[in-house]
Amino acid sequence: MKLLDRFRDPELCKALLGKLEKELEGELRFMEVCGTHTVAIFQSGLRSLLPEGIVHLSGPGCPVCVTHESEVNAFLDLAERDDVIVATFGDLMRVPGHGGRNLKAAQADGARVSVIYSPFDALKIARENPDSKVVFLGVGFETTAPTIAATMTMARNQGLSNFLVLPFHKTVPSALAALMDDTATRIDGFILPGHVSTVIGLDPYKYIATDYGRSAIITGFEPVDILQSLLDMVQWRNRGEAHVTNNYTRAVADKGNAKARQVLYDVFEPADALWRGIGLIPGSGLDIREEWADMDAKRVFGIEITEVPPLPGCKCGQVLKGILSPDQCPLFKKACTPANPVGPCMVSTEGSCAAYYKYKVD
């Protein structure tokens, strides 16, 4: 049996589900922070099998979903400039801005937008288009930021002067504090993101248990990973304990990846960031350091992020905080569908609204 097959083993899952059902006292409201977990829970069919008392909330861990309306407007404005080629991962192509704008529509109107698979691909575009500025949209968490920092380093080493990054990165741990500080949210424990944790490790999450008395577990993306973490949290609560641990040791070292962090912080520094639906969270973003100002699209193009009002009627903010489940939003499956997404939670492949729409059997 391959290693991964063990983590998908139906018999093992059945046993864990049975144990979970037996040990569950009352309700356990858990939030999976990461969009990949949201999709994994649906794709494996786990959501339809979990005991009723396990309340599943989707968190702010889809980078597209937490990109603030103001940031979306900023990159859409940038894409309309004649001297700019926007390079982006595919997820951002259909994210709606105000007035029905998105990158796909901008592209159809003549904007130069390239969907790339790695930030390094943007360097090739920059080399082939020396008369244009190639701007990579830096959206994502600690997972993607080191690669983008490495790309910037490579661009400098290669003497490329027309490669820039628009930095809208966000960092996960401080967002979780903001969620727990919000009295409208009721979260007993977190399934912590696997990818982000490979970079930051366990320490940045420890305050969740010490300061807030909640549990949190770094978890892999297979059904056995998720079930084991839920069972651990149920058992700890039964014993009146709260812990922060790492159940994803096959991929995540407790100390994270120091080298990736060094690459990241050579180029970026902590900054305040706007999160969709949550607002400003101090120190939860990454700005480009002064020494790299020539590659900072915000500085080079004088982009000011001014807060714009949320899209009318869109409840993505409450969905991201776990206050509403997607199907409780009045627009869900009515005004808001994947064909006509009102908010980013419906457009992103990892968004919780899209996952409910796509996978949930009524």
């Binding site: 990949t36 794709q43 069919g45 595919g90 492949t349 059997v361």
Partner: protein, 334 residues
């Protein structure tokens, strides 16, 4: 002839004639085409199936085929899915000025070979050369004509609760190959397009089992989209067993790397067959008896539980929707 396609070759004059006689006629030769009349005179009888398609695939050459062979396979397969014997094809080439003549030749040669293998005559055609930038190297439009040999013809609206759902082989090979070649990604050896003409197998199947309700090839949009079309047209629920759907490990690995789902990727040499439960085993036997159906298996059942929907029963026994894709699959951020 020049080593590149020039605008002259679409002028209708001598250059065009040279291109047609030295390349197209040589490779597509048949008695009707060779007459070079303004239209083809065809002998068809009874009910006919007609299908048209345009091929704009990028890249034009890929592991397992090229735009020329793909144009034949795509067209004969569409005709054969109607329970028809494909007989004739038309083809229109729109070529970008500057296309290397060697590339055009390779495409025409493989198109001719694919047509001969399928037993289809290319009876009329057209060649246009357009200025650089007006098209992306080469586009091919085809129309296929075939004689329907079963009554009623299989149709997407004919699935009935209780029917078995069969698939002729692995999913996603073509889509991942195209994506990988386009993006310069190298996957494990063995990932190549499944592009193939299915007509001989399909005609055998419907002749032996005229009870077949639905035949469809899961091309663009893949298995998921095709199943949703059938569920919608027939107003039934298609319940699929995730663990039974064949996907090559290398395709599954490549998809996982790119954040794609093989069930939404295009196939060009596979078909779905929906038919009464009682005939499922016989159909599988016929399919497995042909090289192009050797991995055929049963993947699900038609029910009346959730009309218009496709429900996937996961390996864990949970249920989830297998919805139609909105737009194209795009690689994700993390």
């Amino acid at each position: 002839m020049s080593d590149k396609v020039l605008l002259d070759y679409g002028s209708g004059g001598r250059a065009s004639q040279r291109l047609i006689s030295r390349l197209f006629l040589e490779n597509f030769s048949n008695s009707e085409l060779n007459r070079l009349n303004d239209a083809a005179e065809l002998l068809v009888s009874g009910r006919i199936a007609v299908s048209t398609d345009s091929f704009t695939v990028d890249p034009i050459f890929f592991p397992g085929g090229n735009i020329g062979s793909l144009a034949v396979h795509g067209t004969v397969n569409d005709v054969a899915m109607m329970g028809a014997v494909p007989r004739y094809m038309t083809c229109g080439y729109i070529i970008e000025e500057g296309l290397p003549m060697a590339d055009l030749e390779k495409i025409v040669v493989s198109m001719g070979e694919a047509a001969r293998k399928a037993g289809v005559d290319i009876v009329t055609g057209d060649t246009k050369v357009v200025p650089k930038g007006a098209v992306d190297r080469i586009f091919i439009n085809t129309t296929g004509i075939g004689e329907i040999v079963v009554d009623p013809a299989p149709s997407g609206e004919s699935a009935k609760p209780g029917d078995a759902i069969l698939i002729s082989g692995t999913m996603g090979d073509h889509g991942l190959t195209i994506l990988g070649t386009r993006e310069g990604l190298e996957f494990e050896a063995g990932v190549q397009s499944d592009s193939a003409g299915l007509n001989h197998l399909l005609v055998k199947l419907v002749r032996e089992l005229p009870e077949v309700h639905v035949l469809r090839d899961p091309t663009r949009g893949g298995l998921a989209t095709t199943m949703n079309e059938i569920a919608g047209s027939s107003n039934v629920c298609c319940e699929l067993e995730e663990g039974a759907i064949p996907v090559r490990p290398e395709v599954s690995g490549g998809c996982s790397f790119l954040g794609l789902d093989p069930l939404y990727l295009a196939n060009e040499g596979k078909f779905l067959c929906i038919l009464p439960e009682a005939h499922a085993e016989k159909a599988l036997e016929i399919m497995r008896g042909d090289e192009l159906g050797r991995d055929a298996c049963r993947i699900g059942t038609v029910t009346d539980a959730n009309p218009g929907k496709v429900v996937l029963i996961t390996r864990l026994g949970g249920k989830r929707l297998l919805n139609m894709l909105e737009g194209e699959q795009l690689p994700r951020i993390c």
